[in-house]
Point group: C2
Chain length 190, copies 2
């Protein structure tokens, strides 16, 4: 998505070898016009999949996910992140390891909000090592729902997340695909 | 807002004397059409205030806040919640005590995203004891920005938050005002 790539070039900050900060338009300060455009793009890319529900993880996924859900006219559910976990029969849970923070969080979805047979679209802001998406996949599976796609705002193609999703046979659409960071600049994949 | 009151009557669950669960349309599963309508209503109520920025706290405030910001055509910033805090010259921080969880969290906003003189609209999902809004007020003040209003999705008029904001002279607009819970039912204020 040309518009997003231009925005990343203009406003993204590359830190070190593998970190891209986009906190001025995506995950701390948020550009609502851009979010509406990302949501619309996701909806167009996945409309044929007959989505019943959009699933994301708090907090950075919420803005793009809610606009995708608006455009698809379906509910959006955001999984809650918790450091500690009180097991409950009412919730689906999965572990998510953060390479950035070197810690494990748990993600939680109330069983009332994911039903057997529902066609679920995952949305997330970043795809790097794929841990958050993998956690959401486990939850969708536990609910006997059907994962029909994953919409990613920014994919880092040089980390292992994409391969993991491809191996699982999931239809992935990333709106910007980053091949490398070179001299503090973003190099997009073709 | 009639539409919201009807939705609360239909889908809200009253637990005990003072808890209203709206996790099936507002703060876990989210109805994007409703969020767009709430955002539009906030924008109409505050348009005359010449808002420069919408400020909320992750996670439940993000969906209504991003739609209000879209309609007002300004950026939205969501404060991050942290249990522990590494003090940094780069951030504004405030403490927020949660009566529900009986614990103190910290909220954090990067200094780059709140500027002196900016006219700020706070948005939050609930106003009960007003701790989250008070934390955001401290951050706005630390930034030398100007707090021009607070838009609340659901206000519990019988808790002390509203009085706190009125005393501070803040223009508050709540889309649903709950006067009491009686026999498990919601009683709205006039």
């Amino acid at each position: 998505m040309k518009l997003l790539e231009e925005r990343i070039q203009q406003d993204g900050r590359v830190l070190g070898d593998d970190v891209l900060k986009v906190d001025n338009f995506l995950n701390h300060q948020v550009d609502p016009q851009l979010m509406a455009q990302l949501g619309h793009e996701f909806a167009e890319l996945f409309r044929a999949e007959k989505i019943d529900k959009v699933l994301t993880v708090e907090s950075s996924g919420i803005a793009p996910a809610v606009f995708a859900a608006l455009d698809l006219d379906v509910p959006m559910v955001f999984a809650r992140k918790k450091k500690s976990l009180t097991l409950s029969a009412d919730n689906y849970t999965a572990d998510v390891f953060s390479f950035t923070k070197q810690e494990t969080n748990h993600i939680i979805v109330d069983k009332r909000f994911l039903n057997a047979g529902e066609r679920v679209l995952l949305i997330d802001d970043f795809l790097a090592n794929g841990q958050a998406v993998q956690g959401m996949m486990e939850i969708v599976e536990a609910a006997d729902a059907e994962l029909v796609g994953a919409g990613i705002v920014i994919e880092k193609t040089f980390q292992k997340g994409r391969a993991l999703l491809d191996e699982a046979g999931i239809h992935v659409e990333s709106l910007a695909r980053i091949a490398a960071f070179e001299d503090g600049q973003v190099v997009f994949a073709d």
